[in-house]
């Protein structure tokens, strides 16, 4: 893939679209980004970044076992994702070890189990694609699964959008007015596990947590309205995915890493120049200039 000096923006965008695998990758990654971006606003506001990291790493053995048994990998991932959270809660309650330590040791334990299983179970599992994602090599059955899970998560989040916002903001009030907080807690965890599963196809297990927290953090710097935050989060996630895939196509870079780097750059931009919360406060600079 040679980068010609007369490459125009037009062909920069259009050329990759002539490849079937690129069209599929762009579409699927956008979908995955939208789902993770949607969830991201809740996770960043709830302070669940570490939890997101834990769940996304813990799904590893689930994916491996499911592949080995010929089951949908989302099922295995889901069981281990929720299982890890239950285990974290249990150990925290029954021991004097602090929560962040418990989270760290549980997810690394699960992750290690996954790696050991991959080396033991003889199958065609590609460790590299699990760890680093393979948006350019998504199979048809994976496409179906991804679409199904994505729709499920989007529908769940849409229905319980306001309840989840209340749960993140003031769970005590939610409980006081008879809203089922226990259900909302596990709903959010379920969505987290499912989003981790679809996210790992794009960027892999190691980086999927970025899909779950960076868009939300970026949006949080740009607005004071929850609905806007969700929209900005989703948009920034989708744009990052598109940029990441294009850049990796033209410059022959690792796709997952490129997507996450694009997200990080967008975050840094918001961090520096966000109108109200950025370091340089663009709005203020503009007003001073006037």
């Amino acid at each position: 893939m040679e980068l010609c000096s007369f490459l125009t923006l037009d062909s920069f965008i259009k050329d990759p679209l002539t490849h079937d695998f690129m069209r599929k990758a762009l579409l699927m990654s956008s979908l995955v980004a939208a789902v993770c971006g949607f969830l991201s606003s809740y996770l960043t506001l709830k302070g669940w970044a570490l939890m997101g990291d834990a769940v996304s790493h813990s799904v590893m053995p689930g994916v491996v076992v499911a592949y080995a048994l010929g089951l949908p990998f989302s099922l295995g991932a889901f069981i281990f994702g929720v299982g890890s959270v239950a285990l974290i809660g249990f150990i925290k309650q029954k021991s004097r070890v602090k929560e962040d330590t418990v989270i760290g040791l549980v997810f690394t334990g699960f992750f290690a189990l996954g790696i050991v299983l991959v080396s033991k179970i003889k199958s065609n599992i590609d460790l590299h694609s699990i760890l680093f994602g393979s948006p350019l090599g998504i199979s048809l059955s994976d496409v179906k699964q991804t679409i199904f899970i994505s729709l499920l998560v989007v529908i769940l989040l849409s229905i319980f959008r306001k309840d989840l916002m209340l749960y993140c903001f003031d769970p005590r009030h939610a409980k006081t007015v008879g809203i089922n907080v226990f259900f909302l807690h596990y709903l959010l965890l379920t969505c987290l596990s499912l989003a981790a599963v679809v996210g790992l196809q794009s960027v892999g297990i190691i980086l999927v947590v970025a899909m779950l927290i960076t868009p939300g953090a970026t949006a949080y710097l740009l607005t004071d309205k929850f609905d806007n935050m969700t929209v900005i989060s989703v948009l920034s996630a989708i744009i990052s995915s598109l940029i990441g895939i294009y850049v990796s196509f033209w410059f022959d870079l690792e796709t997952g890493g490129s997507i996450v780097l694009a997200q990080t750059f967008i975050f840094l931009f918001a961090f520096l120049f966000a109108p109200r919360y950025g370091i340089f406060k663009l709005k203020k600079l503009f007003n001073d200039y006037k």
Binding site: R172, T176, V177
Partner: protein
Amino acid sequence: METINYQNFRIEAENICVDYNGKVALYDANLRLKPGQICGLVGMNGAGKTTFFNALTGFVNISKGKIRINGESVRSAQKDQTIAYVPQNEGIDSQFPISVWDVVMMGRYGSMNIFRSPRESDVQAVKDAIERVDLTDHLSTPIGNLSGGQRKRTFLARAIAQRASILLLDEPFSGVDIRTEKLISELFIQFKNEGKTILLSTHDMIHVREFCDLVLLINKTVVAYGETSEVFTPENITTTFGGISPDSLFGPES
């Protein structure tokens, strides 16, 4: 307007105990409040004030004892929107991207459909509540841009919009400006006349004398409970605060 029977108890807590993983936070606590009564909840940090609130709202489970709200279980009180909880300012994430209007609307969630889409009556209730706390100019202000007093009033408005008959207020006067303090005390008188029952925790002894018909002194359990004039004595307060003289807490008596 529903008729209020002033003889029935709104809150009945009998010998309630709460423990967190074996660590006792509150034991053998009793409380009975009728409509139109304002009760002060006084105790040190860690004496179990917030735990008491949490038990009444059902946010934590009691390990022993019985709680009746309007003669029914806590669960049905939740369903009926009977209790409103007004958190202390430190208890909320003030950087949460949410406006005054949206916070107050959360007072209506419990009586809305599953999508929490506001009906005309919900919108009206929210408008009225915001007007009563004098925040009409700040409808769409994010709570992060409010002063401590304005934020406190926002959560009071949420309780008003909920139309709860029992209000639990955690440190309603801490960190608020004089204007808010005055507005809250006026609201208390209105609530009392409307027959609402109020339980408020406070560090400020002067407020107890000013507003509270009854006072509940706690230190993991009830130290003293009764009419403020009878129970709120220097001796009882000293016991509640573990031997510290009340003078050092709220100045010499005037």
